[in-house]
């Protein structure tokens, strides 16, 4: 690794396309307003649907004034449990991995605030909105269960989307018995909401039994298949278009009630229907990061090495589903300890079902773990970074598997160097700036797994020397339109401007899920394999054709570069793709391929992206106001396809971490279960002015096992580590250890 003059870590250059910091291909469309989002579609004859949502958390709808709503000018229909069209799948049953139980007007029970209880369809949005208001529901209200004191605890059978609720190795009690120091702390993280800029929306059109839907979606194939099941139609009859998403963060991967209701209304009325949630309506039926109450117990020996690590999370979920924030799992896979137990208890509340939200489990769990590690380091009299190095895991704790790659030491070293960590005083409240503000430094380790979802792709080489590559991927702002095209271009030996990329459409080959930080690796591998298949066909044609300069090169092989195939042993002998296709009399050659992780690789190796985040905060000593003044993150995530996009992902993650640490919280009225800040004025996410100059360092890392591209994931790892780093910096500045997030002014005065 080396630094260039600008201070950037020099990156290895991979080929002619991948590895380059290209700008987003869709960037100009977006900044000029020409990118078409779902709600921008207006098919002829379209009606507007507005869900009427419950204002109680638990009970039953006794009456709706449907007549009043229908009498309002412009209202076409009111869809209620009494007249809704039938579904072929019960919404109270799960539907595949991403299909949680949802509310689609199956009955008159109310299970959380903002649950849809009717849908009003009208000629205009305004009429539908007023119609929904006129329904004036009457309820039978039951007491809302809103917190640990009145919620129902249960033994978790699964966490997240079906993962095991407990992971354990070693003898915990023996570890604690051997410890010189015991650190035991409770941490709380609140309910948080994705708040993607683009609300959940759908424009649904039916033509007989054919359904066309425009909707922002992170999992096109899975969703199209689920909607086919709901409506009892073949999946081929469903066309889901999702070219652009205005943010997703997990909330657009999971099925939800309101979008399904839009499709039901369109079917019922035999006209296209648009349904767009309001900001407030997104606080309920479309998932959130569930609240956690976590307890961390760390045993540490006299040398500062962990003897035991116990992480328990009480995780909130709804009364009818089991998505539990897998927070305690953040303690698996990171620090070496002879005994690690991660376990979860469920807490049933009258809330909308939580779901995956950017780094689900890892974000909340890392906030607690990294805080606890900081407390343990101080208890041992060790520098927080030295303490983490003392507990560095060279193989995965528990499983003993080698990591497929792990440049975390380099992340620590480079991040600490760039931040200037070495001068940090051990004791808190030691640093002030020229203006008298308290200054504190904190750090945290970032960790995120590397899933690879099965995916397919098609690559078509065309007679004019260009290519079309296709996969049903999803670009929610992370840059898939660009990075995936770079992978395809490199795999085809073509320049980017010769490659047309089609994506965001469910009828294309399945691009997998844009989630779990796995999209580039998953869809990228499919594109690579499809591209290689097209090149193989091209090579077969050329090397078997006596008229080609490549004739007979079959044994030595050819290299695809710059739109030409070259003999591997004599690069002066080459032929353009166009010439090969034309002589073969072919309009095109089409490569199709699937991709999935080699199960043997998955069995043999532990696969994670890593990083180290260093944060500086300043705190007004009298007024308790905290601002993050510097952040440096160093991350190792395998091969980097597009450093510009990747840096943006790291920045986005770290910004999210700052927001988590200091701002974000859905404030629930404990008496009613209503969220009292369900809008962007009062639910605070960080604004530009909250965010300091940041640095994201890309640590080179080669990973021969994660996939053939060597690509790990970058979308979520940046949040992990950051929340704890900031909380630790606040402690270092003030001497106050705040264990409830977000850290507030009143915690510090």
């Amino acid at each position: 690794m080396s630094l260039d003059a600008a201070g950037n870590v020099a990156l290895p250059r991979f080929g002619s396309n991948a590895g380059q910091p290209l700008s987003r291909r869709d960037g100009v469309l977006k900044v000029t307003g020409r990118a078409t989002y779902a709600a921008d579609n207006h098919p002829n004859g379209m009606l507007y649907a507005v869900p009427a949502v419950s204002t109680i958390a638990r009970g039953r709808v006794l009456a709706l004034d449907v007549a009043a709503a229908k009498a309002h000018p412009g209202v076409v229909e009111v869809m209620t449990p009494d007249n809704k069209p039938p579904l072929a799948h019960d919404p109270d049953e799960k539907l595949g991995r991403f299909g949680l139980r949802i509310e689609a007007l199956q009955d008159n029970t109310v299970r959380y605030v903002h649950q849809p209880i009717a849908v009003v369809v009208a000629d205009t949005l305004e009429a539908a909105t007023e119609g929904a208001r006129l329904l004036a529901p009457r309820y039978e209200v039951e007491d809302a269960r809103t917190g640990p004191d009145n919620g129902m605890r249960f033994d978790a059978q699964t966490v997240a989307l079906g993962s095991p609720p407990r992971a354990a190795h070693g003898d915990l009690e023996a570890g604690f018995a051997a410890a010189a120091h015991l650190v035991e702390s409770d941490y709380e993280t609140p309910a948080q909401y994705h708040n993607a800029m683009e609300p959940h929306a759908v424009v649904a059109s039916w033509d007989g039994d054919h359904l066309t839907i425009d909707m922002p979606n992170q999992a096109l194939a899975i969703s199209a298949s689920a909607y086919a099941t709901y409506f009892g139609i073949p999946v081929e009859n469903v066309v889901l278009r999702s070219p652009f998403l205005g943010g997703g963060f997990g909330s657009k991967a999971i099925l939800n009630g309101p979008q399904l209701l839009g499709m039901m209304a369109a079917r019922m009325l035999k006209r296209p229907v648009k349904l767009v949630l309001t900001r407030a309506q997104m606080y309920g039926p479309v998932g959130h990061r569930g609240a956690t109450w976590q307890r961390l117990r760390l045993g540490v020996d006299g040398g500062g090495r962990l003897t035991a690590l116990h992480h328990h999370s009480l995780s909130a979920t709804s009364s009818f589903e089991d998505f539990l924030e897998p927070a305690a799992n953040a303690s698996q896979g990171l620090y070496a300890s002879p005994a690690i137990v991660s376990e979860h208890t469920g807490l049933r509340l009258d809330i909308g079902t939580p779901g995956p939200m950017r780094a689900p489990g890892e974000a909340s769990g890392s906030a607690a773990l990294e805080s606890a590690m900081d407390e343990a380091a101080y208890a041992c009299g060790m520098d927080p970074l030295d303490f983490r190095l003392a507990n560095y895991a060279d193989t995965e704790p528990g499983s003993g598997k080698p990591y497929s790659s792990k440049a975390l030491r380099e992340c620590y070293a480079e991040g600490a160097k760039r931040f200037g960590w070495s001068g940090r005083p051990m004791e808190p409240r030691q640093m002030r700036d020229d203006n008298g503000f308290l200054v504190g430094w904190g750090m945290g380790t970032a960790l995120f797994g590397c899933p690879q979802f099965p995916a397919s792709a098609r690559a078509t080489l065309r007679a004019n020397g260009t290519a079309l590559v296709e996969t049903a991927g999803a670009d929610m702002g992370q840059g898939a339109w660009t990075a995936l095209a770079q992978i395809a271009a490199e795999s085809l030996g073509l320049d980017m401007d010769k490659v047309e990329f089609h994506s965001g459409l469910s009828t294309l080959p399945d691009g997998g899920v844009a989630g779990g930080s796995g999209h580039t690796g998953s869809a990228g591998m499919a594109l690579r394999n499809a591209s290689h298949e097209a090149i193989r066909q091209l090579a077969d044609s050329a090397t078997a054709d006596a008229r080609s300069p490549l004739f007979g090169a079959g044994n030595v092989g050819v290299v695809a570069r710059d739109g030409r195939l070259h003999r591997r042993d004599d690069e002066s002998r080459s032929e353009s793709y166009a010439d090969i296709l034309q002589r073969a009399g072919r309009a095109d050659m089409v490569g199709k391929a699937d991709a999935a992780r080699d199960p043997e690789d998955a069995k043999r190796h532990a696969m994670y992206s890593h990083g180290a985040v260093f944060a500086e905060v300043k705190v007004d000593p009298d007024l308790g106001q905290v601002r993050v003044s510097r952040m440096v993150g160093a991350f190792a995530a395998g091969r980097i396809i597009n450093p510009k996009l990747v840096r943006s992902q790291y920045f986005g993650g770290m910004i999210w971490g700052a927001s988590f640490a200091l701002l974000e919280e859905a404030v629930t009225d404990r008496r009613t279960g209503r969220i009292m800040n369900a809008d962007l004025a009062e639910y605070h996410v960080a604004v530009n002015a909250d965010i300091p100059e940041m640095e994201a360092i890309l640590i080179p890392e080669e990973d021969p096992h994660v996939n053939a591209l060597g690509v790990k994931g970058v979308g979520e790892v940046g949040i992990t580590g950051t929340v704890g780093a900031i909380a630790n910096a606040v402690w270092h500045a003030t001497g106050r250890r705040v264990r409830r997030f977000p850290i507030r002014i009143e915690d510090l005065i």
Partner: protein
């Protein structure tokens, strides 16, 4: 949303007539009213759009040195008017600490004064709220109220007034110029917003149909130009309402306070003028002890209305800070983040 009439009067007289009809609401930029109509916490029968009325968008300097701010002057235009900002720097600072640049470009001076409380229970139609629906109760009282009032509240209402702009205006004796059926009248801005008492639904002293046409700052308000600040404590650095705020203005001669003005924001249903504190400061050295005593007096009657006792101590501290900063002197240049406690001291580094 509910159907409504939209009228666009061509004169102030027409506007007053239309606004006097039951169910009318006056529309300026709509940055508050239209949001409320969308969520249902305002359901007017009639919008009276005054944005085309002539003569309400000027900043007029009168012969006696006072300045008249038309009701339709945009927040940003006023804050960036150099002459205005030099004479009344804490007012400019307050304006620039409010909302977001986009909102400040749209929002009007009159609208800022007339904006409604941010109390979530006021805006949530399912909650009891005496301010919105007299006699229904106050769900904020035992609810989520960490940011609610600590001064001047009653058991009927604990809401706060959210304006930044109004805080230095009240400190500087701003006057509201009002047109109504009976002609023009004037009112001290301090008397415009009403404490809840038994009638929280009566939010202001305006009579039906009355229209704010201008705000006026007296010439003497500029006497404080060299020693005045507005400081705002907020949880995020922009686009956030004050947890607490303070406007302080001093005339200091040889280290002795000749004249003092102090008002607090985010603590009550109105911008809170602290006259006892002002009186106590007058004639005293501009010292930490005097500022602490002023803070004590300013909050002497404060009591928590819920989970917000911390705001009382915070308010004391921001009073001390604002007075200290005012005594140090108004910065020559507008600071990067107006109102931020992180840019209160000369030469301080902007950390956010």
């Amino acid at each position: 949303m509910k159907r409504f009439d939209y009228v666009r009067p061509s004169s102030i007289a027409e506007a007053v007539s239309a606004a006097a009809l039951p169910g009318s609401a006056i529309l300026g930029a709509g940055t508050n009213l239209l949001d409320m109509m969308k969520i249902g916490s305002a359901q007017p029968e009639r919008l009276v759009d005054i944005t085309r009325l002539p003569g309400l968008d000027g900043i007029d300097w009168l012969p006696d040195g006072s300045v008249e701010i038309g009701a339709l002057v945009r927040n940003a235009d006023l804050a960036y008017d150099e002459r205005f900002a030099r004479r009344f720097p804490s007012v400019a600072e307050a304006l620039l600490s409010g909302a977001s640049p986009q909102l400040r470009n749209a929002a009007t001076a009159g609208g800022n004064v007339m904006q409604h409380t941010r109390c979530a229970y006021f805006h949530d139609l399912s909650s009891a709220c005496n301010r919105r629906s007299p006699g229904s109760g106050c769900d904020a009282l035992n609810g989520e109220n960490r940011l609610h009032a600590v001064l001047g509240w009653s058991e009927h209402c604990i809401a706060t007034h959210p304006s930044d702009f109004c805080v230095p205006l009240v400190a500087l004796d701003a006057v509201v110029e009002i047109e109504g059926h009976k002609g023009r009248r004037e009112l001290a801005l301090e008397a415009l917003h009403l404490l809840p008492g038994n009638t929280p639904e009566v939010e202001s002293a305006l009579m039906p149909g009355e229209l704010i046409v201008a705000l006026r700052l007296p010439a003497e308000a500029a006497d404080f130009a060299s020693h005045t600040r507005y400081l705002k404590l907020r949880e995020r650095t922009s686009y956030a309402f004050a947890v607490v705020s303070a406007a302080a203005a001093l005339v200091v001669d040889a280290g002795v306070v000749q004249s003092a003005r102090l008002a607090l924001g985010g603590v009550a249903a109105k911008p809170w003028r602290a006259r006892r504190a002002e009186d106590a400061l007058t004639g005293k050295p501009a010292s930490p002890e005097a500022f602490a005593e002023a803070a004590r007096l300013a909050l002497a009657d404060a009591k928590p209305s819920g989970h917000n006792a911390f705001k009382i101590e915070l308010a004391r501290r921001i009073v001390v800070r604002a007075l200290t900063e005012a005594a140090t002197g108004t910065p020559e240049r507008t600071i990067p983040l107006p109102g931020s406690v992180f840019t209160t001291q000369a030469g301080s580094n902007h950390v956010a």
